[in-house]
Amino acid sequence: MRIHLAIPSAVVVFTAAVGVTYFASPAPGAHASSLGTGASTTPTTIPVSHNRSQVASGKTLFIANCSTCHGTNAQGSAYAPNLVGLGAATIDFWVGTGRMPLPFPTAQAPEKKPLFSASQRHAIVSYVTSLGKGGPGIPNVQLKGANVATGEQLFSLNCAGCHTIAGVGDALSAGYYAPSLYPATSTQVAEAMRTGPGNMPRFGPQDITPQQLNDVVAYVHRYIQHPVDRGGLGLGHVGPVAEGFVAFLVGIGSLLLLSYWIGEPAEKRESHGAGA
């Protein structure tokens, strides 16, 4: 009697599946963003204070943790570049994302848990920038009033080529890679754009205006890091390879099991029927 049960239960499962998934979909426009003119009366960078005690504690930290490679006066060595005049954004980015200090040299410094607290990081930034002027400052990101549509266009043009359009990152050649954008803070995304760490190109104010910078960061923050997955599980946002595995393992796999369930019922029926 398996067949008699199979069809109604299949119909029920199908109907339930359609119903549940339809009503489970989030309402359109769940992620709204206000379109507005971000009047840039606010300063575009965050100023770095150079008070004496902060510089001094920054120097102590630098000597202890950075000078082995970068030299005691941040002048660089055979192993590491000169840091004088690189600007606050560069130092803040590399230290803030945990890429520095680097325990051992690799093709690309990996992101990890930052070694320093925020105040320690500010001290190091303060010390290194006190050694020489120049370089981009830490961007003052203003997400309010940013235009995510402009951000999407700029992201598609400038960032998707390495970080992928979904921002999950991917491998580049010879051990280099474009990292995932998911763990980056808004300030770190802006710093990376302004300074071009590693293989990444540098986008100065002539390429990307402060307002456009805010637009891209807003898009990354609101839509890359929190994608609108109204279709269900995002499958890592790596595209058709993951989808193909799901199609085979979940789709074909379950259908094969179901075909086994529904196929060859006769011998069981027969064993029941033998007594009847």
């Binding site: 299949a10 599946a17 992928t164 010879a174 390879v241 259908l255």
Partner: protein
């Protein structure tokens, strides 16, 4: 009375067309019960779902590259210029009721459809079901595989998002790479240089009309030929070259297959509801000078993408002209692939000369180790190419150099398939010798005689013993319903093993039916465990042994 009226009408029709005889014969058609015969139905029902959901999508999709401005709930696209095709696809996903569910169901159905074709083809290949008289149906199947892959690519391209646009760009380059005619052909297809404005409407009409019609026609031919030639079957259970053992179409098989249609639909609906596929709004509109990294085609095109990726940068010249490098992995290689698949029955027959007789009984993979080895090697080769389409994903996931991954695949596609084939050959050879491993054998009693000699005696068979099956013997003709006996082409006697129960007219729905209503011919079978173990176990031979 109404029934009387209906009877009159039916009789009227029957007098003129003889439908009753035909219907009776058709309804009594025997279908094998083995679960692996349902794989083709996964493909068939996925195709039905593709048609149904596809019709829904055409109500809302606009096949045009005309530039429009999007205004809708997805803010990152709000105010952006894009093609009407992309705009309507996004609107379909956000504002049309159940639109996204239908779109995702369509896409998952496509992935499962082609996947089921491949798995079905594997079953046909490894069991030798393509041999005489079924060479034509194999060739039709290969044609359907080709058309399905092509149609999948066309459908994938229609939303005109950033990722699929890159795919069309690659397709244009592939057409360009064909020697002599490439540039003419590409400009003919795209109505000028890339991207043009014609490609989306042209892909649309190919995708929704020409290729589905061709596939539907081939499905018709496929099923008609199968109907005419009848099913193949595994050995054992009284099956011979001249009969078909299984369930009758009506009512047993019809309800079974209808239930399976609902189950397939349910699985596709669940996939569409819980697993996001191709979220085009996250990809943005296609702009020819924008590109996203990590772009792959859908899985069924993956082997082509992988071949393109691992092709070394050789510059090959012929007749003093350089043949574009892309031509070899993207045109020549798939061409040879489909030619090999298409003509495989004749290639095999060239060596085995098996086509002197019909083959309605299936081989098990172990029965023909050479074929199994070739098939397994070929499968491994194409799986490696598929994996090579994800070189970047592999490198990124496992934090290894992309170059290392690429070079590994270049060597692996050459080295691994022969090794895999050889292993398959050895396993097949081994399995020929331990068919009954894991099951209880009929016990043998060793007796010591008075003068010290040892003799063996076979014990009485116990329930669950595997090796007590006896070869099939004749069953008297009169014990079978005439309609059923006619099914075997009129010549072959029905067979069941002695000591086993041959059942006629019993089982589901058959109890109250007259004997002429077609019986379920069935021989009792040794017990098999259920679950996954049983599924694998059911691949074991059920060949009577002596």
């Amino acid at each position: 009375m109404i029934t009387q009226k209906i009877d009159e009408r039916v009789n009227w029709l029957d007098d003129r067309l003889g439908v009753q005889k035909w219907a009776r014969k058709s309804l009594n058609k025997i279908f094998p019960d083995h679960w692996s015969f349902m794989i083709g139905e996964i493909a068939l029902y996925s195709f039905a779902i593709l048609i149904l959901t596809g019709i829904f999508l055409t109500f809302f999709y606009s096949p045009s590259t005309a530039q429009v401005i999007y205004h809708g709930p997805y803010k990152p696209l709000d105010g952006q210029k894009m093609s009407a095709a992309y705009e309507s696809s996004v609107a379909l996903s956000f504002t049309v009721r159940a639109g996204l569910l239908m779109r995702q169901m369509h896409h998952w159905a496509a992935d499962v459809f082609i996947g089921a074709i491949v798995v079905h083809m594997c079953r046909i290949f490894f069991t030798g079901a393509f041999r005489r008289p079924r060479e034509l149906n194999w060739m039709i199947g290969v044609m359907m595989l080709f058309l399905s892959i092509a149609n999948g690519f066309l459908g994938y391209s229609l939303p005109d998002d950033l990722v699929s646009g890159t795919g069309i760009r690659i397709a244009f380059s592939i057409v360009l790479s064909i020697p002599v005619v490439g540039s003419y052909l590409a400009f003919f297809l795209f109505d000028g240089n890339y991207p043009g404005t014609q490609i989306i409407p042209r892909f649309f009409i190919l995708h929704v009309l020409l290729l589905p019609a061709a596939i539907a026609a081939l499905i018709g031919a496929h099923l008609a030929i199968m109907w005419h030639q009848k099913h193949t079957q595994f050995r054992g259970n009284g099956a011979t070259e001249r009969n078909v053992v299984g369930s009758v179409l009506w009512p047993t098989y019809a309800f079974k297959t209808l239930g399976f249609f609902f189950l397939t639909t349910a699985v596709l609906a669940l996939l569409a509801g819980f697993f996001q596929i191709n979220p085009i709004w996250q990809y943005g509109p296609y702009v020819p000078y924008h590109v996203s990294y990590a772009v792959q085609p859908d899985w069924y095109m993956g082997w082509l993408d992988g071949a393109l990726r691992i092709m070394p940068a050789w510059e090959i010249t012929a007749f003093h002209h350089m043949v574009p490098n892309v031509f070899f992995p993207a045109v020549l290689f798939p061409g040879l692939t489909f030619m090999l698949f298409y003509f495989w029955p004749f290639i095999e027959d060239h060596f085995t000369k098996e086509s002197v007789t019909d083959h309605n009984l299936l081989d098990l993979p172990r029965d023909n180790p050479v074929r199994t080895a070739i098939g397994w090697g070929v499968l491994t080769f194409y799986f490696l190419l598929f994996a090579a389409s994800a070189t970047d994903v592999i490198a990124n996931t496992f934090s290894i150099s992309l170059n290392l991954v690429l070079w590994s695949f270049r060597f692996m596609v050459v080295i691994v398939p022969p090794i895999a084939g050889w292993i398959a050959y050895r396993v097949a050879k081994e399995m020929q010798t331990w068919q009954d491993a894991g099951s209880r054998k009929r016990a043998t009693i060793i007796v010591r005689s008075a003068d010290g000699a040892y003799l063996t005696e076979e014990a009485e068979p116990r329930p669950g013993d595997r090796a007590h099956l006896l070869p099939p013997a004749e069953v008297p003709e009169e014990s079978l319903a005439p309609a059923v006996a006619a099914h075997v082409g009129g010549a072959g006697p029905e067979t069941v093993s002695p000591g086993q129960v041959g059942v006629t007219g019993a089982a589901l729905g058959g109890a109250g039916r007259p004997a002429s209503g077609g019986g379920v011919k069935r021989a009792k079978r040794d017990h098999r465990p259920s679950g996954l173990g049983g599924m694998l176990d059911s691949l074991r031979p059920r060949r009577p042994r002596d």
